[in-house]
Symmetry: D3
């Protein structure tokens, strides 16, 4: 869903947009080039990243899952993306990192982009891997990256946590646009969150990206608060930035049906 | 006066509000329960705090005064409140701390909530005592607290200092409301100040409380500046966050009639 | 041009304004006193600064130039200004420092006012000299100063860098006004920049000055971006806060016609 | 025991030493003046502190106990000491604060003297009260203080925790001596700990006190480690700076016989 | 070589030591159990980590190499180690991280353990992966880790860089021993470096590990400085913490024979 | 006197040493080249700095004096030195900066090398000028500098302040040697102070210079303390790092005979 939003939102930025997915997209527009591609396929990604001016990398597993999937899709796949950028001389990448790279901080920590990572899942670890890899590709090969730690990007906030963690699609697109167009990006880690009242992080260090949020969650507050019970402040899902990811056990554990939780999510 | 404002402002939050004062309140509404109580009375406070969901503690001496009053009302009294919370299993307290807990910082210091305390009076010391006590009750007993360092909460700003230190009643009520309703509070120290132009402190570390000021002092600026002389930047009352409290001597000192100053205030 | 703007903008603050320039000003108003004066002339500056309530020091060379000019106009001249303040008991100075005092920081550094200086030119070094000198005059002689590091103060933004570095004349005047009227200034270093989307510095430590920007560059963005090529993020003029000053060699170097660049500017 | 050590250790510093205790001391030397005094007695403390050049305040309850004792001995008593200093113009106080003022930090936090307090007991809260009170007496009345946060001052280390928390008597005396004789003390918070291998805090901010530890615990390591079981890293008594104080409940709680633990200690 | 040193050095700590290598070890002592094992083999690592009290993980590729090797040996292999710890309830791991996790910092940066990672190679990225993974295993599963960023552990310093980066075998063993025996480790990142004169990092945040270096490089200085040319301060190999790793290109690049450099090393 | 010490101490570093002074030196050794030179003479300094491998710049006025002398000797003179380095391609400069660049910090501030400058005199301002100038010459022209903030370099400590501020000649020479020989210097600010017990600053950020003090003042303590009165902690000369420089008025002030003080010094 976010992918479709990006397709529309980023359209004004380029004459031609190449879109990669694992399955075909039937409704391609004339200025869209559709490429069916597994990120784990090295040669395919080299092709995919040829002759482009910038890469928006939102691919890979989007939730906690087994390590093999994480390793193939998110770790090896992202390495391929950065190798594609290096070999094809693509100067800039916008990468969908995640709040789950720093999910184990308590809300009251109010961290900034330089705080050490505290992933809340194997998924989160893979996000920190790419943040680290992209730092190498900046320091050694001069490829700029925006690692946008998306909090919760959904059509609208769906629970009490999203009242503070929501990033509207419009704001997400704007953030990516800023990452693609700001004159100097270097290697930047930014928190992707709309202008909600509760501000759980300090985003100053991304000031040079030029993002200014347009949305917030106040229009949704009353309904959500009336429909959901008061949260327990000490439950891991309330206490930590990563929310319910912090309540998950290891993906191999059978006793906790975390996949059910994700389905609801 | 602030007390009455809180009565009205917090009414929507609860079905029943129990209000404590040292003297009777004649105009109690049906959903208000009035309790006459000295905070220094242990048993009375245990009763007062029974069967409530949260405590808003604005009691005790509100200005500099002799040590015995401070000790009884603010130190022993606040201990009773926290004991009431612990024994009666009240999970959250909003406490009216004060700028006078950090009154001896110069305006240009731009401190944040982690800066070491620098009280400007015995009153201010008692505020730091409760901030420390509430930290213990969080770390050891799991009781959450908002220590709201109120700067100047009056119906309107009354002098040049309040042009930057004012916290409107509406903003004060909103801050308390945020403290009571934010999903995760932990132990938080926040600066209570409206959205005035001059910003003498850095309030980032309370971002998770979700407070957004609605008021500022610009409507009062012209009148106040025309009615009052230009301040001396090196006078203690101008130089320090605590204002005229920093010009007070010890309450036992006879040579300085600090009580007169307070009366004007 | 900025000088004329200041003449108009600061007029409401004083009954009488004394204006100094190296050449005569023909259109003086009744409440303006024009003084022709070289800042390098000690006696003249002592006269110039007599019987005033505050000094706004925007004089001296305004661009990179040979060391002798810098030494005379900016270093010796500014010393004379501060000596005038000391001898004539002028309690407060607003000084036009510059982004070029910290020009060699990369945009993504997001520095604050306490970050060590990194000048990008002899001109920038002279700005850091005055910031240091004014600190001495505060610590030893009690003269307050606002060192306003002006980024780019022009009638309107002229290139892509100014989309983030612009300080509108209106905001510049307001900043100087705040510096002159805030109750407590001490010795303050502030970044002079309008409320542009891209925020390359952290200005929190000047919160007590009370400045709130009124302008930003969004109205100019489309035109400027359409008229100018995409910048190279690694070019010194894009990479560093100081912009094209970082691309200049030494003023003595013949091989680089930096004066041509400045003329265009 | 520490008291007797201080009597001997500080003897070289003064011609006459006035020693206060709650009971008589039978073995007074000629240069020792013994005063029987309750710190809760205002008049007695005013007498006690008359005509002295400095105060070493190690009095009051030394372990967790009921609030009334804390309030009388440590809070009111210390207030009397500082009032004595103010009224009798005693310029400097060395105060025995405690690790229990910051007992709830985890060992791996490596805090410094500016980290916010996190007391682990009512006793610890009283220590933070005096640290705050002494800051007021410095800022307002110019009385210098060393708040020495003693970790574990015993004849020798007695358990595994003391292998890192021990402050030998010799080092304790030296610290107090430095506090009394360093040319400029201001208001200083320092960590009182010998030069043990494990360094759980950062003591840089007390560098101007001039203390250099002479002792460490290596000579005791083998015996203690062989006599005691391997600790559980997650037990509160291992995890936190405050050790077993963090395992205590409230002094009023009957279900936990914390007094037994202390007796063993 | 370091492996053999560890075998001897850690012997006193355990009754039985299980040693894993990819090839057989012929000289096993009675208290040594040799296991031939590829870290990429999940089942084998589950066996390897069964019934042990702690894990010392120095396995995997030890130099920059192709991504597939890094992925298998260092990323998947280390994941297996941590899974072994989780499944077999091993409470503590000492991991050989590396200076190459932060190799792109300039020497004059003087970073500490909380500075964001800046790997200098794919190898370095894999080290940051394990640091992040082990943080997850601490926050979610309670397994403690020491991530020891070894600088240069060789029998003796071999070049000018090692005059500051050397970690003697004796100090390396001592560091691992401290990691295994300190009462509380949590998740700790430490810099592994002997007590050399030049101190390029700030190791304060590992104070609770209790390591005190015994060696330094002064005995080797004269010989090394006489045998090697003065380095160029701006060469990547001199400028950055990572040394010659920062001069390597990508392992796939043919034009630079980085393997030759390593062989010399 | 320090100059002669440097002549001897630095002799082992070079085959030929060129020594500049304003008057002739009669006892030149064969490997010493004596140049009589005013630093204010541009052409002479260009000659002076030709064909050297490094510059040790200890020239200029060494105490507070009138602005014209400061301007000529310290500001213009140092500019000439750096121009000489640039034009003659000298890659490294060790500059004798001074505690007086940060003299107005209180001892208890425990600043580090990144703390903003707070000069205590025109002399101190000139030191901050050269620190800023040398930063420019590093960022723009690649010339490395050690700005060594010498505290008190005398044959032996002469008063109570020097018990903490003393830098022995031996340690001074060693510091300069480290600056000249460390592999990577960049632009470094360091505090020049021996290993005295009282440590008023945090010198971590110069760790890469490799300096380790050999001396301290303990051998002198007893005599100095017995010969001098106990200092007043609030006297500017005791309170601030800069000592008696902070008690000086402006050099033009007649009412204070600061030159007499210096003579005693």
């Amino acid at each position: 869903m976010l992918g479709n939003q990006l397709r529309q939102g980023l359209e004004p930025l380029a004459k031609q947009v190449r879109i990669s997915d694992r399955v075909d997209i039937s409704d391609a527009k004339p200025n869209e080039e559709i490429v069916i591609c597994e990120l784990g396929n090295y040669e395919a990604v080299m092709e995919l990243t040829r002759d482009v001016d910038a890469i928006v990398h939102f691919g890979g597993a989007a939730l906690e899952t087994d390590f093999e999937t994480i390793l193939e899709s998110n770790i090896r796949g992202s390495y391929h993306i950065y190798e594609g950028a290096r070999k094809n001389k693509v100067p800039r990448v916008v990468y969908a990192s995640s709040v789950h790279a720093i999910g184990y901080y308590e809300l009251e920590s109010i961290i900034d982009a330089d705080s050490p990572v505290r992933p809340d899942s194997l998924y989160g670890v893979s996000k920190t891997f790419v943040e680290s890899l992209s730092r190498l590709y900046w320091d050694k090969f001069g490829i700029e990256s925006l690692c946008l730690r998306i909090f919760s990007s959904f059509p609208e906030p769906k629970d009490r946590r999203m009242l503070w963690s929501w990033l509207s699609f419009r704001d997400c697109i704007q953030y990516v646009t800023c990452g693609l167009t700001t004159p100097r990006l270097g290697h930047t880690v930014a928190f992707g969150i709309s202008d909600n009242q509760l501000k759980p992080v300090d985003n100053r260090k991304a000031g040079h990206v030029g993002f200014q949020a347009l949305d917030n969650t106040e229009a949704f507050r009353q309904r959500i608060e009336s429909e959901t019970p008061t949260p327990d402040p000490n439950a891991a899902g309330t206490k930590f930035l990563g929310g319910w990811f912090c309540e998950l056990g290891h993906p191999d554990q059978e006793e906790k049906s975390w996949k059910d939780i994700m389905m609801w999510q």
